[in-house]
């Protein structure tokens, strides 16, 4: 029975908040294009670790908050986040059991997909020109993922998040 009681909810939401902070943190122009998608990475982690608690609708809400924070057309990132996290939730078992390098490659693919969806919706509702720099964040996310995963796993075990 105790397995069913959610634990450490505040830790998860705090991690979302910190990720959002990193997402809008100023970066030098040189690396601005490579800004990793912190919020998406953290959401992927929690969706992978606790897919029954943090999943599509959580991602949708976070995407909406991100849209508001960035001043974008509402609904763009919430749609992209929900779709991407759906993929993660469907394959969470497989993703969990992948070796680290394969997992981070998958995460990079998911991040690219996310950016493609954002671009595509942006193109439909406003206007946007396609630029290959769209995929740069996927490269940085590939490397950042190791750290995000490692830190969040420690946090999860430390606070016994369920």
């Amino acid at each position: 029975m105790s397995m069913h009681i959610p634990n450490g909810r505040w830790v998860v939401w705090l991690s979302f908040l910190v990720a959002m902070l990193f997402q809008i943190m100023p970066l030098p122009d040189l690396v601005e294009g490579f800004r990793p998608d912190w919020l998406l990475l953290v959401t992927i982690y929690w969706a992978m670790a606790l897919p029954h608690r943090y999943n599509i609708l959580t991602a949708w809400i976070l995407g909406l908050l991100l849209d508001i924070l960035l001043g974008a057309h509402l609904g763009i990132r919430s749609l992209a986040m929900a779709l991407v996290i759906y993929v993660v939730v469907l394959h969470f078992q497989r993703l969990r059991n992948f070796p680290m390098w394969q997992q981070s490659l998958m995460v990079a693919c998911i991040v690219s997909l996310y950016h493609l969806i954002v671009f595509w919706v942006q193109f439909v509702v406003d206007s946007a020109t396609f630029d290959a720099s769209l995929f740069w964040p996927a490269i940085s996310s590939l490397f950042i993922w190791w750290w995000v995963f490692w830190i969040l796993r420690r946090v999860r075990r430390l606070y016994k998040v369920r």
Binding site: L65, A72, L74
Partner: protein, 294 residues
């Protein structure tokens, strides 16, 4: 471990719900301004926190500046101030003359608008749009549609206001357009943003229009959004191709949109306060220098 599954909400259902809600949001985006305003007011502490590293860098650059550097900077600013005040003396004379002439012609006299200096917060915005976030919001009286200028020229307009911050759409955003006129001959046109920071585009300019490279474009005041007479851009390129219906004209914004730090918010309709403040300061000056008046 699967309490939610026991309740029987499948992932497919959640996804469908999320997609439906997103589409709803995408369609009703423009009507949700009040809700967006309140949520972004709630989120604005996040923006202030995110701004801290940049502000600290600025602060450390200032506080670790050497005495020598400060003295040099001070000297440069004093020189600049001298030059400016000389120009201001001439300008003041011209303004009085202009006011008299306008009064003679019976046309409305120009008033000084209220202005407030605001700082650009270093937070990331939607990469597809040209936005900056200012550290002034509804509390400071900022409103949607408010014109924003810097030392060189027009920067853009406020498009979104929360309690403590506001978002400015830059001239160069593809969704932005500003009515301008050429100072040389008062030809009116509209300058559209292109999505490139240092380029504006003048659309629908007839090929017979008298426009040359180097012409200064100032805001025309038509459209009642931007006050008249603020410099906007300089014409960089004019191509009159016989195959095209219109001339292709591009201009470069005068404001350095890629490195703006401090901006001026204008209240074109609030005049009295500015005038009073001006009078107050003038009185103060005369009070503090009684010898000069005697």
């Amino acid at each position: 471990m699967k309490p939610i599954f026991a309740r029987g909400i499948s992932n497919q259902f959640r996804l469908t719900l999320a997609i439906l809600l997103s589409v709803l949001l995408l369609l009703t985006n423009d009507k949700l301004e009040p809700a967006r305003k309140s949520v972004s007011s709630l989120l604005s502490p996040l923006q202030f926190v995110a701004n801290i590293p940049g502000a600290m860098l600025d602060w450390s650059a200032e506080s670790f500046a050497t005495r020598d550097m400060l003295a040099k900077q001070n000297q440069a600013l004093l020189n600049q101030q001298l030059l400016m005040s000389e120009r201001l003396q001439r300008f003041e004379h011209l303004r009085q003359e202009n006011d008299r002439l306008r009064a003679l012609l019976g046309s409305p006299v120009h008033m000084d608008a209220k202005k407030v200096v605001a700082e650009v917060m270093e937070v990331a915005s939607d990469p597809y749009r040209h936005y900056v976030v200012l550290n002034h919001g509804e509390r400071n009286g900022v409103f949607v549609g408010q014109p924003v200028v810097d030392a060189q020229g027009v920067v853009g307009q406020v498009v979104e206001v929360s309690a403590l911050t506001s978002r400015v759409l830059l001239l160069s955003d593809p969704a932005h357009a500003i009515p301008v006129r050429v100072t040389r001959n008062d030809v009116r046109m509209i300058a559209n943003g292109t999505g490139v920071l240092d380029e504006l585009e003048l659309r629908h300019v007839a090929k017979s229009t008298d426009i040359r490279v180097g012409d200064l474009l100032v805001s025309s005041g038509l459209g009642n959004r931007f006050p008249e007479g603020y410099p906007v851009a300089r014409v960089m390129n004019v191509v009159k191709d016989d195959g095209q219906n219109y001339a292709t004209v591009s201009a470069q914004p005068l404001a350095a949109l890629d490195r703006i730090r401090y901006l001026l918010l204008l209240w074109p309709d609030v005049q009295e306060e500015a005038r009073e403040a001006e009078l107050d300061s003038a009185e103060m000056v005369t009070d503090s220098t009684p010898e000069a008046s005697q």
